[in-house]
């Protein structure tokens, strides 16, 4: 049986080390091996050096079109890609061209590692924001189950914003307990998961909650569309998070077949 693979895309920047560390931290949880890939653009020395140092096999490919790399993730054995967000901490972009392209086009989850990321191994705690839609819940469920079965603590997060403020809240203690219980039953695969509730701007709350909770990774379901005006939460999290961000593609077919659940403002008729 072939081993499951994590592809770690590295360049010659300093973030290569964080990318490989992240991939290595994930490998035992996913029962996978790590293969580093480097696209030759400006030499190979740093990538080779770091891969060697970390004892990770490195495949160097010649200025391959990015789509070919994306296609490699369609291989059933490829379960995940890890890429660096951008070369430098002061880069104003939320992620570099390579990271964005792979994340937007990949059929598999992609971990985007910030340049200043603190990578902790083993991964002990993951934050999974849930927006209360079945589509994101479905996308996050498998990842959540995988982490939980490996002993990782999964903390779910729901942020009430202007669009998702509950219609009614009689008593915060009783009602949020009941609401949380039902929310987890509907949207979380893991019995006994913990749900954190926040209110305000979702992206901001994801970042601050990740810091408060001291998580090792954030797992975000998304629709793989970073065009202007879209994915505001993903943008903010990628821009500000200090831990790797696992982006889980939402299957569009699934998205169309599921409606937004009735427990938040979509109830309004």
């Amino acid at each position: 049986m072939k081993k499951k693979m994590i592809f770690a895309g590295i360049d010659n920047s300093g973030s290569a080390r964080a990318v490989l560390q992240t991939a290595l931290a994930l490998a035992p949880l996913l029962d996978a091996t790590v293969e580093a890939i480097h696209v030759r653009e400006d030499g190979t020395s740093t990538a080779e050096e770091i891969a060697k140092e970390m004892n990770i096999p490195l495949r160097i490919v010649e200025t391959k079109p990015l789509q070919d790399l994306v296609n490699e993730l369609d291989d059933p054995d490829a379960i995940l890609a890890v890429v660096g967000a951008r070369d430098k901490p002061n880069d104003p972009r939320i992620a570099g061209h390579v990271a964005v392209t792979i994340a937007e086009r990949s059929s598999k989850p992609v971990v985007v590692v910030p340049p200043t990321s603190t990578v902790r191994a083993p991964i002990r705690k993951v934050l999974i924001p849930l927006d209360g839609s079945q589509s994101t819940a479905a996308a996050a469920k498998r990842v959540s189950r995988t982490f939980a079965s490996s002993g990782v603590e999964v903390v779910a997060l729901h942020v009430f914003d202007a669009a998702s403020t509950p219609l009614f809240l009689d008593r915060p203690d009783y009602d949020l307990d009941a609401w949380t219980r039902e929310f987890l039953a509907r949207y979380s695969a893991e019995p006994g998961s913990r749900l954190e509730l926040r209110s305000g701007r979702p992206g901001n709350n994801v970042v601050t909650t990740a810091e408060e909770e001291g998580v090792d990774m954030i797992a975000l379901a998304w629709r793989q569309d970073l065009s202007p005006g879209r994915a505001s939460v993903v943008r903010e999290v990628l821009a500000r998070a200090i831990v790797p961000v696992l982006l889980i593609p939402v299957k569009e077919g699934l998205l169309r077949s599921l409606i937004r659940p009735g427990i938040i403002r979509a109830h309004r008729h």
Partner: protein, 1003 residues
């Protein structure tokens, strides 16, 4: 009309499409349907009728002839429990048949004038027919009718039914010779003469040989039978009507079609006759005559014998069908489908285990302690079965609100699974379940199982009866016993489970107590339990039913609210009604003001004994309330904001919110509950007319609460009294001074106590209380007519939430607690709650100004808010906005608008819905000194609103339309309409709206 077809050969009976239903009653024609003719041997049908009655089926035989003919031929003497009625004499008489001679139970007797009119009509009809050349003869004078033979020839003296075709030919030849086109023409002529002779509402029919003029006909028989059945909770969808002449004959209406009265709307109707001209729409033509009719009876007997699951009447106005919903709605449905006998609530979880279900049995008032609070103890689960079907097979659940039965249907054909369950309304603690399905797909499994969230279950067996009990760490427990019976055939397994539950908050009931309940239930039997249960629900609805012409969705939602409120409350001992009743675990079964202020009024008006039991809960906790006051160095009784078993405050102290850990201050500061309890006591006494209550056991609820306020208030140097540091109903603003609601309710409480003590000879107390009540500030500004919600409210940031957000909205989540606290955004009616509860205590004509000021500032973020605002807006005439808010309240649980209905129904919202209807749209209030006032304001969509209720010992029905009000009462009562003078109403009275007000128009 369905086309006429060849009658079905009897040899093909096994393949006949007999109605695939279990009926609770049979109404059928006699001659030609049950027997071939009046001379035939009726022994076969007699045996079946007696057997059906033994099985609990009610049987109504309808015939035009007299009792001697039918009883002489049938000679049935049923022993019950099903009843046999003979509805005879063309709808003029009904006899009950038991072991002796038939007993007349109803008769329509013509007045002398009516008899004279009938004589005139018959004589004129014969003359008119003769004028056309048709010889006819009056052959007899019967009760309430006259019979005219239109073929008075010796050869047609007494034709048997079997010669109907020949008779028809002969009659048609005669009438054609006389220039009539058919028998219908003759009937029309006779009808004209009857009307000319001033017969009131003449009934003219023909059986081909005769034309009869009468005051009654088979429609009266059918109506009587169906009314009688409805009074026992058996509505038309549970009734089979059979006859042999539904279709027209000779152009005249088939005589059995007269049984198709409006009351029979959903009955299954079958014809076993020849029906040469087809049958009317909705009638199933089986043909086959009496032999096939016997097959119908055999099929019903087999269903009883096999213990098949009962059916419900699928009346869309009374049933709530929940199916094909997204999986996550399953737990919500379980709350909506909860059944209760008043003490025990069983959530409507499917019978088998599986993802997404949350089965639960709760007992009202039986708690256990968790780390930080008290919660309701979960009891052993009794409704579990093993179901082996594809999990994806859709389930359809139907709650029959008319009879308190939950039906589940799944799959089809040989894979059809059906279960039916109810919590007996007549036998305390009894729950019953029947299930039927393919033998490979449904099985019994363990009879009792432990609740999901409870460790430890004691269980055992006593013969065939299994028992189990859960034990609370507070010493109480829930003990359940159950017995399961099973019948297996090649293609079906039928399972019956009878369950008995008993519970006690302070000791664990012995298994023997639950076993005894099961034994009693077993002795009665499932079918009898169900029949009694249905009859009790029919009685309940006679005192509670609400109809809204023109708004079926709201009507159904209102009935849903009533159903759950009525079923969730016991009628004796004490009633501890938690915020979610016994439909789910949320709020731990804690009792809030929800119970006293929102739930009690509906029960006072529908089941007064249940309202009394709710007050008994407070009375028994007076010692704890007095102790609470004493601990605060105050006098009287201080009821806790949240109460569980012993009456001490069980309000949590902290909550985790999106803003972090926040303190919960309601337990220490939301003190209006003290006056709310007094309000409940006074409201109950006024509404029910139970005057002794306030002089006796309820007196302390008013006096001791007044004492509390007297010791709580503080006087300033101007002699004005204040209440400091409280929380009003608007919990967005905590620890405020002089909350108008609290102060005015306290003032009302003191005045009520003064009134009571005056009556029993303590005028000094009365004078003192009146004095300090007068000194209490209430924040009222005479210029603007607005009450300031609390001292300093006007200085807060004037945010109008209506302009900022779609409402309802949990504004504390949207804006944050601090922002909301510093603004004029409020959670729910606060000042306006005064106008709702104690309108006599607020400034006259101040409602509109306060609605205008406070409603736009109200986020309606409390589930208590929409219904109460619907009531208030209806009173100010803003009926469309009122209806919008009522509909919102109606959908709160049905559409899970809070996201928490899975954890139980919002009992206060359900109670608020009734209050919006009765206090709001009907504008009903009790009058000082007895009687009630009414001032109806209906939205345009409502053509009429009809409410049944109990008030001051009377049964009253009010029907309101835009321009008319009808009041029907079983005992005289005073009524004031729209502020007019008191009118003494006896029986039925109508009022019409005129340009200058309402005018009494009839008695």
């Amino acid at each position: 009309m369905h086309g006429s077809t060849e009658p079905t050969p009897l040899g093909a009976r096994a393949r006949l499409p007999l109605p695939d239903r279990r009926f609770e009653a049979l109404v059928f024609d006699w001659d030609g349907t049950a027997v071939p003719d009046r001379q035939a041997d009726a022994s076969e049908v007699r045996e079946r009728i007696e057997a059906l009655c033994r099985a609990g089926v009610d049987v109504f035989i309808v015939s035009g002839t007299h009792v001697g003919n039918v009883d002489g031929q049938l000679r049935a003497r049923p022993t019950g429990p099903g009843r046999l009625f003979l509805c005879l004499n063309r709808g003029s008489e009904v006899f009950r048949v038991e072991d002796g001679d038939p007993v007349l139970v109803w008769r329509h007797t013509a007045t002398p004038d009516e008899n004279a009119a009938l004589d005139r009509a018959a004589a004129r009809a014969v003359e008119e027919l003769a004028r056309h050349g048709l010889e006819a003869r009056i052959v007899s004078e019967r009760l309430n009718r006259r019979k005219i033979d239109i073929i008075p020839l010796p050869e047609w003296d007494d034709p048997p039914k079997a010669r109907i075709d020949e008779l028809l030919d002969a009659v048609m030849k005669r009438v054609h010779r006389s220039g009539f086109t058919g028998i219908a023409d003759v009937v029309s002529l006779v009808m004209e003469t009857a009307r000319a002779a001033e017969v009131s509402d003449p009934r003219v029919t023909s059986d081909v040989k005769h034309v009869e003029i009468g005051l009654t006909d088979k429609s009266d028989s059918a109506k009587w039978a169906l009314d009688e059945l409805a009074s026992r909770g058996v509505s038309s969808g549970l009734v089979l009507i059979a006859g042999d002449e539904f279709g027209p004959i000779g152009g005249a209406t088939g005589s059995d079609s007269l049984m198709l009265v409006p009351e029979a709307a959903r009955a299954t109707v079958c014809s076993v006759g020849v029906e040469p001209n087809g049958v009317p729409e909705g009638v199933q033509h089986l043909g086959g005559g009496p032999a096939l009719f016997n097959a119908l009876l055999d099929d019903q007997l087999a269903r009883r014998r096999d213990g098949r699951a009962p059916d419900i009447d699928p009346d869309p106005a009374w049933t709530l069908t929940l199916g094909k919903k997204e999986p996550w709605f399953r737990r919500v449905n379980e709350s909506l489908l909860t059944i209760s006998d008043g003490r025990f609530g069983t959530r409507g979880a499917r019978e088998e285990d599986g993802d997404g279900t949350d089965p639960l049995l709760l007992a009202s008032g039986v708690f256990e302690r968790t780390d930080d609070t008290w919660v309701l103890l979960a009891g052993p689960l009794w409704s579990n079965l093993l179901v082996h079907q594809e999990p994806q097979t859709p389930d359809v659940f139907t709650l029959d609100m008319a009879t308190g039965l939950v039906l589940r249907e799944r799959g089809d054909g040989e894979h059809r699974l059906r279960t039916a369950r109810f919590a007996s309304a007549t036998c305390a603690g009894v729950m019953a379940l029947r299930a039927e399905g393919h033998p490979d797909e449904v099985a019994t499994g363990p009879t009792l199982e432990p609740p999901i969230a409870h460790d430890g279950l004691e269980q055992g067996k006593d013969g065939r009866i299994a028992w189990a009990r859960t034990i609370s760490n507070l010493g109480g427990g829930i003990t359940v016993a159950a017995v399961t019976a099973e019948k297996l055939t090649d293609d079906r397994r039928v399972i019956e489970r009878l369950c008995g539950a008993t519970a006690n908050p302070h000791h664990v009931p012995e298994p023997s107590a639950a076993i005894e309940i099961v034994e009693r239930a077993r002795a009665v039997g499932f079918d009898r339990l169900l029949a009694d249960h249905r009859a009790e629900w029919a009685t309940r609805w006679r005192n509670a039913a609400i109809s809204i012409d023109g708004d079926p969705d709201t009507e159904k939602a209102v009935r849903f609210a009533l159903f759950h409120l009525i079923q969730a409350t016991p009628s004796e001992d004490e009633a501890s009604i938690g915020a979610r009743g016994v439909s789910g675990p949320a709020y731990g079964g804690h009792v809030f003001w929800d119970t006293d202020v929102f739930v009690l009024p509906v029960l006072a008006a529908t089941r007064p004994e249940a309202a009394r039991a709710m007050l008994e809960y407070r009375i028994r906790r007076l010692p704890a309330a007095r102790e609470a006051a004493k601990r605060r160095r105050l006098q009287g009784a201080r009821f806790p904001w949240e109460s569980a078993d012993d009456g001490h405050d069980v309000t949590p102290r902290f909550a985790r919110t999106p803003e972090g850990i926040v303190p919960i201050r309601t337990g220490t500061s939301e003190e209006h509950i003290v006056a709310d309890v007094a309000w409940a006591a006074v409201h109950y006494a006024r509404w029910t007319g139970d005057d002794e209550f306030l002089r006796g056991p309820g007196r302390a609820l008013v006096i001791d609460t007044a004492r509390y306020w007297a010791s709580k208030m503080r006087f300033d140097n101007r002699g004005r009294a204040h209440i400091y540091g409280v929380i009003g109903p608007d919990e967005y603003h905590e620890i405020v001074d002089d909350n108008a609601f609290t102060n005015v309710m306290a003032r009302w409480n003191l005045r009520q106590a003064a009134q009571l003590t005056e009556h029993d000879g303590s005028p000094a107390d009365a004078e003192y209380w009146r004095g300090i009540a007068h000194a209490l500030v209430d924040g009222y500004d005479e210029r603007s007519k607005i009450y300031e919600q609390f001292s300093g409210f006007r200085k807060l940031e004037p945010l109008i939430i209506a302009e900022m957000a779609d409402r309802p909205v949990a504004a504390d989540v949207l804006l944050g607690r601090r922002r909301v606290a510093d603004s004029q955004v409020i959670k729910q009616a606060d000042v306006l709650m005064l106008h709702h509860l104690v309108p006599e205590e607020v400034a006259p004509d101040s409602l509109a100004a306060n609605v205008d000021f406070y409603e736009p500032r109200t986020a309606h973020g409390s589930s208590l808010s929409p219904a109460i605002h619907a009531a208030l807006l209806a009173r100010t005439g803003e009926t469309e906005r009122a209806l919008e808010l009522l509909r919102l309240a109606c959908r709160l649980d049905l559409a899970d608008l809070t996201g928490t209905t899975a954890s139980g129904l919002h009992m206060a919202t359900l109670g608020g819905i009734w209050q919006a209807i009765v206090f709001g749209f009907l504008g009903m209030r009790t009058l000082e000194g007895g009687g009630f006032s009414i001032d109806a304001h209906l939205p345009a969509a409502w053509k009429a609103l009809e409410v049944n209720m109990r008030i001051q010992g009377r049964h009253v029905r009010v029907r309101a339309q835009d321009d008319a009000i009808e009041i029907v009462t079983d005992q005289p009562i005073d009524v004031s309409v729209a502020g007019g003078p008191n009118e003494h109403v006896v029986g039925s009275v109508s009022f019409d709206r005129r340009a200058n007000g309402w005018k009494r128009v009839s008695t």
